[in-house]
């Protein structure tokens, strides 16, 4: 028997041990880990995908995200959330678009190279996720909001319709244009791309280029495009799974348009990133 002075600390000492197996183990994916950048894919002039080498990655569901943490030499840390843009079963990949004065995004887009490490925890999230059930899938993305939607179309049941509605400021800023065009040509997706801030240049759509396969429209996403996209899913009665991701103002506007097109707002899952 130990003396009374050491007893409390001994008793306390046993509690984290049992607590650790009960509580911490299911959250092990939320511990920060250093992961290495295994590959870099330049997506557009200001966006790139980072394929991460995460040996203990448990796998993810389309739509989940990771938290990324950078640590400066002086110890200053900055944390951001990034959607996973790779499909289930694939190596965790994030797509980062540079934002003005973004202390994290600028580093990830301009400076980081293959072999560098960064802090990461995840996969995270259980709301904005798509497990690939046999249902029509309507994916609506603004700008880099396409990132989690790529994971979803990769996860989709190939025999169910996938309808993509995208909004970009200029055609050159469309993420995954080649992949999206490939899906449209293969007949596994329909895609409409709105170009919000520029008139379409006359040479934007050249035969044989990715944009040639996509339906391009000038101006912001409007009721007409939303209604067409819902119809392409088989209508509101076909109970499509609907995911909207983009800047907050875009998401708010699109949720209103989708509701006006007959969808139940509770069936529309959204992710806003600022």
């Amino acid at each position: 028997m130990t003396d009374s002075a050491t007893q409390p600390s001994a008793a306390l000492g046993t509690r984290p041990a049992t607590g650790r197996t009960a509580l911490v183990a299911p959250l092990a994916h939320l511990a920060w880990r250093d992961v290495m950048v295994a590959a870099v894919v330049e997506e557009t002039a200001d966006a790139r995908s980072l394929v991460l080498d995460a040996p203990h990655w448990p796998g993810h569901v389309a739509g989940q995200h990771v938290d990324v943490r950078l640590t400066a030499p002086d110890g200053y840390q900055a944390t951001r959330s990034y959607s996973l843009s790779s499909g289930p079963g694939q190596a965790p990949t994030i797509t980062v678009q540079e934002v003005e004065d973004g202390e994290v995004s600028t580093y990830l887009v301009r400076d980081i190279v293959v072999g560098d490490t960064l802090g990461m925890r995840g996969p995270i999230g259980g709301y904005f996720v798509w497990a690939g059930q046999h249902r029509p899938l309507l994916l609506v993305g603004g700008g880099s909001g396409l990132a989690p939607l790529r994971a979803m179309w990769r996860a989709a049941d190939p025999t169910a319709p996938v309808v993509v509605l995208a909004s970009v400021t200029t055609p050159a800023r469309l993420l995954y244009a080649d992949e999206l065009a490939g899906r449209v040509r293969a007949g596994t997706a329909a895609a409409t791309v709105h170009v919000s801030r520029a008139e379409l240049p006359p040479d934007a759509v050249r035969p044989g280029t990715p944009l040639d396969a996509l339906t391009l429209r000038s101006g912001r996403v409007d009721a007409e495009s939303v209604e067409a996209a819902v119809a392409a899913c088989g209508g509101a009665d076909a109970d499509p799974a609907v995911f909207v991701c983009g800047p907050t103002s875009f998401v708010e506007a699109l949720v209103d348009l989708l509701t006006a097109a007959g969808l139940d707002p509770r069936a529309v899952r959204a992710e806003r990133f600022g």
């Binding site: 959330s81 709301y127 992710e271």
Partner: protein, 92 residues
């Protein structure tokens, strides 16, 4: 000023602070009684810490502060927090 993201951004930190995965969790606002997924809260990141506001009335529900390895979650505006009904039991 109304530059918010949504609750998806804080699920990682909040799960760690609460000791369970709240990715599909919901909150009941202590102010207006609205019940909503945590993912649907309005989150303000450019504060000292992360502030979750009720999408119904705008009241502050949760504040999460993460400094180094120390997490603090203040749930002053929450009447109830629910994890998803069929939460997986912890492995024995």
């Amino acid at each position: 000023m109304s530059h918010h993201v949504d609750g998806n951004a804080v699920i990682g930190a909040l799960s760690l602070a609460l000791g369970t995965d709240v990715g599909e969790g919901s909150l009941e606002c202590a102010g207006c009684g609205d019940t909503h997924e945590i993912a649907r809260t309005h989150v303000y990141l450019r504060c000292p810490g992360m502030v979750l506001r009720c999408p119904g009335c705008g009241a502050v529900e949760v504040v999460v502060v993460e400094i180094r390895h120390r997490l603090t979650a203040t749930l002053s505006g929450v009447a109830a927090l629910r994890t998803r009904p069929s939460a997986e039991p912890a492995p024995a």
